[in-house]
C-alpha cells in the first residue's frame, strides 16, 4: 500500500445482536490524495466503513468481522456524536491531543491548535470548557482536533450535519484546505455542496453493497440511487401519517415565554464556566402551528425548547403555563420532547419496548407496530436501541417520545442524519401532529422543513 491509501477486501461486518451483516463482502480501494464522498440511505453502513478503517470493529465495537480494512498513513476520524470525541476538559488541550500524539514540539503545538480552532470558527479561547459547548460547537471542536493533526487520511462522518448553512460553508472550506493533497473520505446526507469538491462518489445500498462508484459526473448522469439527497431534487413529500397515530389525547397547550433569560453554568471545583444561553426571549408556541427556532450553533435553540417544555428553570422572566412545576406523569401527558443526543432518550433494551414505554406508564394505547412501520424500524422491533445506526436512533428517539400522543411536541434537530425517505417519515409525523392540533416546536438547521413561525436566533437573542 502507498501512503494515504485506504483499502477494503471482502470486508464483512455483523454487529453483535444483529442477525444479518451490515456490510457484506465489500471491495473498495481509495487512492492516495483522492477525495471521496460516501453516500447511501440511513443504516446502509457508511459509518461502519469509517470505523473499519479506524480499526475499531471487532476490537472496541463487538461483532463479527471478516475480510480486511486497511489504511496506510496517519488517520483523522470525526465521529457522528461529537461529545464522545472530547478527550480534555478544556478546548485548547482537546485540540492539542493529536499533535501531542504526533510528538510535536511544544512551540509548534499551540500555533496549530489556535489555527485549527480559528478555522472552525470557535473563538472562545483555549481555556473554555469543552463540556460547555453546544452540540454544533462540539462538532466543530472535534473537527478542529482532527484538522490540527494534519492527517494523511481524513475520515469525516457527517461533519456539518449540526451546523447552519453559513457555518457549514466555512467549515467545509476549512476541511478542503486541510485536505489539500491528502486523502478525504466524507460521509454526508446533504451532498449538494460537496459534489464540486470531490473526485469520486461511492453509493451504498440499504444492504451495504456498492451500487455505484465513479466520478461526480458519472454519478450525476446515472440513475438517481435510492435514499440519497440528489442535488436539485425536489423536497420529498412528507409521508402520509395516519392521524390516529398522532392526534393529541388531550387539548394542546399554548406556551408563552416572556423576557426569559437563561445562564448555563458548567461547574467544577477548579472553575466555573457561565454561558448566557438566552437573553430576554419572548416567544410563544401554539396549537396547530409548527414553530422553528433557527440560527447558528450555540445560539440558544435547544435551551429555548427546554425552557418552554418546563425542563429548565429560567434565570429570569416567565413561562406560562409553568410546566416546570408539573409532576412527571402530568408533564408526560402534555409534552413530548426529543433530545439532541438520541441515546439519552432510551429507557429500555428493545426498540419495541422503547416505543411502548411512556404510553404504558400513562395508561395510553400505543400502536407499536404501526409506529415502527412509519419510521422504517419494524425489522428492529426486538433489537437493542444502542445497536441501531445514528439516523435510526434519532427516529426511534422521536417515536419513543411521541407515540403516546402528547399535545405539545418539542424536537431538537429532528431531521439530522436522515435520507430522503426517512426524512419524509419524520416530517410526515411532524406535519400530521400539527394538522391534528398539536403544538409543535423544533430547533433545526434544515431549510426544507415546513414551518409556520420562525424565531431566528443569534447569541441567545431573537434576531
Amino acid at each position: 500500500m502507498s501512503l494515504g491509501e485506504a483499502r477494503f477486501r471482502g470486508f464483512t461486518w455483523r454487529p453483535l445482536g444483529r442477525r444479518n451483516p451490515v456490510v457484506a463482502g465489500l471491495d473498495l480501494t481509495i487512492e492516495p490524495g483522492e477525495r471521496v464522498l460516501l453516500v447511501g440511505p440511513s443504516g446502509a453502513g457508511k459509518s461502519t466503513l469509517l470505523y473499519g478503517l479506524a480499526g475499531a470493529l471487532g476490537t472496541t465495537i463487538a461483532g463479527e468481522l471478516s475480510g480486511s480494512a486497511e489504511v496506510d498513513g496517519r488517520l483523522g476520524l470525526l465521529l457522528q456524536n461529537p461529545a464522545d470525541a472530547i478527550v480534555a476538559e478544556r478546548m485548547g488541550r482537546d485540540v492539542a491531543f493529536g499533535p501531542e500524539n504526533a510528538a510535536m514540539p511544544r512551540d509548534e503545538i499551540w500555533p496549530r491548535v489556535d489555527q485549527a480552532l480559528e478555522s472552525v470558527g470557535l473563538t472562545y479561547g483555549r481555556d473554555h470548557f469543552s463540556a460547555a459547548l453546544s452540540g454544533g460547537e462540539q462538532q466543530r471542536l472535534a473537527l478542529a482536533g482532527v484538522l490540527a493533526m494534519r492527517p494523511d487520511i481524513l475520515l469525516l462522518d457527517e461533519p456539518t450535519s449540526m451546523l447552519d448553512s453559513d457555518t457549514s460553508a466555512s467549515v467545509r472550506d476549512s476541511i478542503l484546505t486541510a485536505a489539500d493533497g491528502r486523502t478525504l473520505l466524507v460521509v454526508e446526507h446533504r451532498i449538494g455542496a460537496w459534489l464540486k469538491h470531490v473526485d469520486r462518489v461511492v453509493v451504498l445500498s440499504a444492504d451495504g453493497e456498492v451500487v455505484s462508484d465513479g466520478t461526480v459526473q458519472a454519478f450525476l448522469d446515472g440513475p438517481p440511487p435510492a435514499g440519497v439527497w440528489m442535488p436539485g431534487m425536489a423536497t420529498p413529500a412528507p409521508l402520509d401519517v395516519p392521524a390516529d397515530l398522532v392526534r393529541p389525547l388531550e387539548e394542546a397547550l399554548s406556551i408563552t415565554a416572556a423576557d426569559v433569560s437563561v445562564e448555563l453554568v458548567t461547574r467544577t471545583l477548579r472553575g466555573t464556566q457561565r454561558t448566557q444561553a438566552l437573553t430576554g426571549l419572548t416567544a410563544s408556541i401554539d396549537p396547530g402551528t409548527t414553530t422553528a427556532f433557527t440560527g447558528p450553533s450555540g445560539a440558544g435553540k435547544s435551551t429555548a425548547l427546554a425552557v418552554l417544555g418546563g425542563l429548565l428553570k429560567p434565570g429570569s422572566g416567565s413561562v406560562t403555563p409553568e410546566l416546570r412545576r408539573w409532576k412527571s406523569a402530568r408533564l408526560a401527558e402534555a409534552v413530548g420532547w426529543v433530545p439532541q443526543n438520541p441515546e439519552h432518550g432510551f429507557l429500555t433494551t428493545t426498540v419495541g419496548d422503547e416505543v411502548r414505554r411512556t404510553g404504558h406508564r400513562l395508561g395510553r394505547p400505543v400502536d407499536v407496530e404501526q409506529v415502527l412501520e412509519v419510521f422504517g424500524l419494524a425489522r428492529f422491533a426486538t433489537s437493542n436501541p444502542y445497536r441501531l445506526s445514528g439516523g435510526e436512533q434519532r427516529r426511534l428517539a422521536l417515536a419513543a417520545a411521541l407515540a403516546h400522543r402528547p399535545g405539545v411536541v418539542l424536537l431538537d434537530e429532528p431531521t439530522v442524519g436522515q435520507d430522503p425517505s426517512t426524512w419524509s417519515a419524520v416530517v410526515g409525523w411532524i406535519r400530521a401532529a400539527r394538522s391534528a392540533g398539536a403544538t409543535v416546536a423544533l430547533s433545526t438547521h434544515d431549510a426544507d422543513l415546513p414551518i409556520d413561525v420562525e424565531y431566528l436566533m443569534r447569541d441567545g437573542v431573537v434576531a
Binding site: T60, A85, S130, A131, P151, S328, A329, V335, P339
Partner: protein, 233 residues
Amino acid sequence: MRSVVLRINPLVQLSVGLFSLLGSFWIRSLPVALIALGAYAVAGLLLLPGWRYPLACLGFTAIAAVTIVYSTWRLGGHDVEEAFTAGLRIVVLAGPGSIMAGYVDPSRFADYLAQTLHLPARLIAAFAAALQKFTGFGLAWQQLERVRRVRGFGPSRNPLANGRYAANMSFALLVQALRGASATSIAMDARGFATAHDRTWAEPAPWTVLDRLALVGAAVLGCAPIVARLGGA
C-alpha cells in the same frame, strides 16, 4: 489566599493526602488525633476555596469513621477513647486526600505524572482522558433526568420509588459512560493515540516557589501527629 489550593501543582495537591496518610499511623491517642485533625481543619478553613465539597467528602469519610468507632468499641473492650481515636485516625488518613483529589485538573495532573514522575505517556494520556469524562457526566445526568421526567419516569415523593429512580439513573449513566468510553477510545486512536509511542505534552510541568512551599506545608501538616506525640500529647 483561598486560591492557593487551585494554583499549586497536582502532585503537591495530592501530596497533602499522602502525608496525612503517613502521619495518621502515629495517631495512637485521642489528644494526638484531635491535634492532627485540628491542624488540618485550620488549614482547610484558611486555604480551601469553598466549604460544600469538603464537607461532603468529610461526610463520606465520617461513615467509615463511625463504623470503625463502633467496631473498635464493640471488639476492643468498650473503650470509648480507643474507639474515637481509631475513628479520628481514619478521618485524618482519608479526609485530606479525598478533598484534595477533587481539585486536581486532569490535564495538568497528566503533565506532571508524565514529565515530573516520568510515568508511561500512553497510560497517563488515557488516564487523563478518562478523568475529564467526569465533567461531562454532570451534563449527561441532566439530560437523562430531563428525558425521564418528560416521559413520566421522574422522581416522586415516594421514598421507595425515589430509591428505584436513583438506581435507574445511576445505571443509565453507567451505560452512557461505558458507551462513551468505547467511542472516546475510538476517537483517541483515530487522533494518533494508537501509535503514539513517543508523545510530547502541550504544557510544561514547572515547580514554582509556591509549589515547593506548599509541599513543605503538606509535610508539616503530616508531621503534626508525630510532633504532638513526641511533645507528650
